[in-house]
Symmetry: C2
Subunit: 338 residues, 2 copies
């Protein structure tokens, strides 16, 4: 198993990405290919006492970097960027999965343009696991601002296969994010999506899901368009930060409250992780013919290690084969392209 790692992209690149990749190389039975400026990689590793001389770590040089501010199509112009080089290697079968904490738009565009979509799937989607009462996959969590009911149904199908294969959830429950539970709720698109999801035998559709139900394990896959998914994902992140900031203020008030903080410190750090999507590693771009994993932009070394772990599981579990199989087999679930 060979994981291609973009070590130049992300808020904490290159140091945390190099460190995370090195951790993964030590923890898992895997080859790590660090893609980026070779001199910077070697210098950063050396300056920070990170040993990248292990047999299962190699470097592939790439002279450019796609920044967070670059447009999505910079994946075409910056041909020697770490992201473009990694995707080209993945497309050429020179690795089993690609992990990047970089520019989401560029990664999504590159995955579609360089690696290609699975035949039969009109759009790929970003799928993020939210760590609530039980893990819940939010798909699309940011890629497609405008979708059709066919896209929604295909997202639901891909998400179901992912949760079954990677989280062992048999017959995952699929919910449609809406502004009420009745089937007449929402826009025409959502009403059409409801009908289509309901008809599709391969999907265990449990109906509409409202915002307030999201944390309480009412479904295993929550399907929505990429705009609403982005708002849900980011609001969850924002409210988590807000709450922990407030709690910190409460606990650091005086000696007594500091004592109470000490008593529950461990449990609080577990709870904090519940709000931290990076704990589950990265978000797969489902619908792409080979495994592409988007790690959170703010990923630290541990998050990168976890994203590599997830990439290994994704590449190993035959998710993509199963998704491709469905696209060909079932035309009732929204796969009209073939």
């Amino acid at each position: 198993m060979k994981i291609l790692l973009d070590v130049m992209s992300g808020d904490k690149a290159p140091l945390d990405i190099i460190r995370g990749g090195t951790m993964a190389a030590g923890d898992f039975d895997v080859d790590i290919v660090m893609i980026g400026d070779e001199q910077i990689i070697r210098q950063t590793a050396s300056d920070n006492y990170i040993d990248i001389s292990k047999d299962n770590i190699s470097i592939v040089h790439a002279s450019e970097v796609i920044t967070m501010e670059d447009p999505a199509l910079s994946i075409r112009t910056k041909k020697d960027s770490s992201m473009a080089v990694g995707l080209q290697m993945l497309a050429a079968d020179e690795g089993d999965a690609f992990v990047s904490a970089g520019n989401t738009g560029a990664l999504y565009a590159g995955a579609s343009l360089i690696v290609y979509r699975i035949k039969g799937f009109r759009k790929a989607a970003i799928a993020t696991v939210l760590p609530f009462e039980t893990p819940m996959l939010l798909i699309d969590s940011g890629a497609n601002i405008v979708v059709t009911d066919e896209n929604i149904t295909q997202f639901a199908l891909m998400g179901s296969i992912y949760m079954e294969k990677l989280f062992g959830i048999v017959n995952p429950r699929v919910g449609l994010l809406n502004n009420g539970t009745e089937k007449t709720k929402g826009t025409q698109l959502l009403q059409d999506s409801y009908a289509r999801l309901n008809e599709c035998e391969a999907i265990n559709f449990v109906g509409n899901v409202e915002g307030k139900q999201i944390p309480f394990s009412v479904c295993d896959v929550l399907v929505t368009d990429g705009f609403t998914g982005n708002v849900v994902l980011k609001l969850t992140e924002g409210l988590g930060s807000f709450l922990f900031k407030k709690l910190k203020g409460i606990f650091y008030k005086n000696v007594l409250t500091k004592m109470s903080a000490a008593m529950i410190k461990k449990d609080m750090s577990v709870l904090k992780k519940d709000f931290d999507a990076s704990e589950y590693g990265g978000a797969p771009i489902l619908g792409i013919s080979r495994p592409v994993i988007k790690a959170h932009g703010g990923s630290d070394a541990l998050a990168i290690r976890n994203a590599v772990r997830q990439a290994i599981a994704y590449a190993r579990n035959g998710v993509i084969v199963d998704i491709a199989h469905y696209a060909i087999k079932s035309s009732d679930c929204g796969s009209t392209e073939s």
Copy 2:
């Protein structure tokens, strides 16, 4: 000042609504008109030792009730419902504001059909104050699933006037909820809305706001369509419940953690209120020619008292006159109907 109160609608009706109305009659210089089945009102009050014999409390009989499951247009068929009777009284100037914790769809439809919109405003919108670092008005928080850039601009204008008049915020900062801060983000509708908000001199537009920024006082008015607003409002509620449930689990684990809970109990209850929109009372339906306030469906007596307090402030502060004035004066802010 006479406040019309629908005592038959809401999850905790009639008891908590009657009790909340009675609290308001005691706490504020106001006349409370309780609208609903007279026999049920008198019996409920008597069974629960609530004294509704005060001079500033009166009852107006209404034989029907619109339930949470009724369709929005039941406001037309159930003409003798507490909600319809209250709105008719408001339209006939037999009260200064109407407060209901009932069916949002029916209340919104009834406000538009019975009380009418302010001339020049195409759509009314539900405006909810979210109690984060600083109060932030979310508009539209649930009424209009499909909107235009003109609607968005009018919502921003109405919301600005409300926050200035009721919360004393001079020149309120208006943000547009989007999936990124760059002006090229979002659907065509959002890009058009961005341009229009930017051009309108009466609006202090501060640009796009992402989900993760929402709790951190980046704007005083957050404008969005009613679908996304509903998701934001309900997800905030859901994540708040989820977190406090988890914290309870941590604190009730053993004797030591229970001690630490005791030390910070007061601060925690303050924090809990920060996540509880009902603390600010109800949500005005802005764009209606007279004050209509939607109290949260789950409102208890205190929340109803607070909603009445807000109704008084809304009726007293000339918000509607100011909104109407703007519709006539400025055509650059999206008021093309006149």
